[in-house]
Symmetry: none
Subunit: 222 residues, 4 copies
Amino acid sequence: MARLVASRTADKPPAPASRGENGKHDTILRAAVTVFARNGYFNSKVSDVAREAGVADGTVYLYFKNKDDLLFSIITEMLDSFIVHVRTAIAPLSSPLAQLREIARLHLEMLGRDRDLAVVFEVEIRHSTKFMEEFSTKKLSEYLDLIQQVIEAGQRAGEFRPDINPRIATKVFFGALDEMVTNWILSRRGKPLAAAVEPVLDILLHGFVPHPASVAASPTKE
Amino acid sequence: MARLVASRTADKPPAPASRGENGKHDTILRAAVTVFARNGYFNSKVSDVAREAGVADGTVYLYFKNKDDLLFSIITEMLDSFIVHVRTAIAPLSSPLAQLREIARLHLEMLGRDRDLAVVFEVEIRHSTKFMEEFSTKKLSEYLDLIQQVIEAGQRAGEFRPDINPRIATKVFFGALDEMVTNWILSRRGKPLAAAVEPVLDILLHGFVPHPASVAASPTKE
Amino acid sequence: MARLVASRTADKPPAPASRGENGKHDTILRAAVTVFARNGYFNSKVSDVAREAGVADGTVYLYFKNKDDLLFSIITEMLDSFIVHVRTAIAPLSSPLAQLREIARLHLEMLGRDRDLAVVFEVEIRHSTKFMEEFSTKKLSEYLDLIQQVIEAGQRAGEFRPDINPRIATKVFFGALDEMVTNWILSRRGKPLAAAVEPVLDILLHGFVPHPASVAASPTKE
Amino acid sequence: MARLVASRTADKPPAPASRGENGKHDTILRAAVTVFARNGYFNSKVSDVAREAGVADGTVYLYFKNKDDLLFSIITEMLDSFIVHVRTAIAPLSSPLAQLREIARLHLEMLGRDRDLAVVFEVEIRHSTKFMEEFSTKKLSEYLDLIQQVIEAGQRAGEFRPDINPRIATKVFFGALDEMVTNWILSRRGKPLAAAVEPVLDILLHGFVPHPASVAASPTKE
DNA sequence: AATGAATGAGTGTTCATTCAT
DNA sequence: CATGAATGAACACTCATTCAT
């Protein structure tokens, strides 16, 4: 019955921030991340979120349209701010290759710093094709576009192979990072996620097979 | 309330398969794939599955312990048979590189042939960290181990770089394929998923950056 | 939905007794007593009874109209045979007082010999006012009438006080025995129920208060 | 699945009682008595109780743990207040015999005043041996203990025969009253239940058989 | 007669959402 | 703005009963 569309938090900003606090809006959103990460979206009750946030059930509805809007807002707001962060960070870097490295680093660092958030991004985000379609065509594709632009810039700069499809390269890049995060979540080891940046980049940049230089020429790749 | 463990369909085969039919078990499982792919697991009702399968609600419970068991059985049975299929297909191939290529091809071909099944695998599989933990530590890791073994064999055979971490390479490989599937599901284009095999492999095998063989050309990779 | 009336086993005696056995009818009825005593009527499934009897679920319906009929038949048949038994046993006794004593003895002995049967009689019999009304106006009142006749005979014979209401005396008598059985069921002590016959009779016959003439006379009756 | 223990209504009093009303808790409990008496516990739906109480289905669960808790609460709360009532009433009476008479009177009067409540106590209370065991070892035995203490006091005071087993006398006393109530429920005659107090007591106190000295001594007791 | 797979009506319970205070 | 008691629609699961074999 629940639909995910339309909502958008921006429609109703009752109080950006009461007093000096962070604002109930953010408090509730943070509580939702914690609760959703713990039990999963469908197994979480709005009253769980309310209790975690220290407010009454009804208060949640003063800041969010409905339960779906909570999940939607988490994803959208977090990703929005992440994209801004990434853009800012890579702007001063002149080399597309350096930019791509920075994106990978920020990606793993941000999610590796907050397991609950990572869980929501990796697991809870996929709660129906409907949601994903809605989401992927809006927010996520903005991120993917950003990556693709860097790759294309790299090709123009001669840093990346001109014969690879930048759209596919983007998916490979994102998919590799995504899988690293998923695995890190499931294997509750203490090893920091960010430690994987260089090994993953090395593989993505140089591939599985030894360089032809290692011999003389690369007769048949694929 | 939901538990995913233990169940295993094999425990209760009330009717192996009447006549030459496919058997109610398979009919119901197939209906579940269709329904789950259409509405998502949590938004699907058991009675939807029953109707799709052409049986009464109660009949579902003659073959499956509960709703969770339906999802669990889909994943487990499909993946089991896929792994067997892959093992059989790569056994005669002597080159690990050829084996890895075959795995990629089968992976994308199988899911690309059945969008509903792909949806369930990519989206519905992630229903709570609990489910994923249970699942990833059992079935999925069997598949990932298989991939890792091929990569390690390739390293020993000199086909793959010895200085890459096989575990990470496995994740990059799987993550890349996984993302291709996810994207294919969401962009309902007609382009067959299997068409992506070679481009993806090219990137994974040879990387983003031009070969040093291009001696003069690209002096600075990273 | 279930109604208890009408049924009556006598309507359909499919097989009085197959071979030399006791007959499936009795086997199933006995199984029902066991199962109902163990879990209670409403918590017992017809399939539990069938399994206990070693027959298929459907077979139960060849001998009994429905689940209600099982309970109804247990009560009716057991009570019928008990009443016949009692009539036979007290017929030769000339003294109503001796007859009443014999009734008490048989009552406690029969139920004390078979705890499961006792449980069904004491507990399961009361599964709705409807059932009890149906039952009490038919079978049970036959038993109560028998008791009342003995008491009235005792009054005519001068063995019982003429100034007590025989209908009320009957209820006191039956209620006392009934409570003994209920207590015996709940306190799973090993002490045989029949051991209570004399103490109970003493109280019923001579009352709580000392006889006025007790001064010298009645040292200990019984 | 049904559990009767633990619950205790006192654990969750969401609304003590709005204004001068009786409070939803009591309203629902009273509705449950009515509905259970009408159709029996197992044939009653929670929604029937809700409708009778004039509240939504879900509201029942704000005041009671589950359906079982409704039945359990009825029995416990009613019996608790009854026992308090009895203790208060007999405290000022010096003679144990007068106390026993008062208990009998209150017992029949309370249940005779409210047929629905009587039905629940006599019929619905016996819902599986489990329930009875749970219940009889806690609440009911408190009442039976009270009776037994009075009887023992009467023996010490010389008002009751010293040679009767007080535990058995208690059961006979309670069983007699209980049967009077059961019969009154089933025979829907208008005759007030309380009218049976003296005839029953006469029988219990003086027994079925004429006093040996009845000749002259006890012409008419009671 | 006997079977047991199939049926599908029936219900206790949950929980997102509302709204009077 | 906040509250949290009240609502009632929604649904997984059970099990008495049937009937083709």
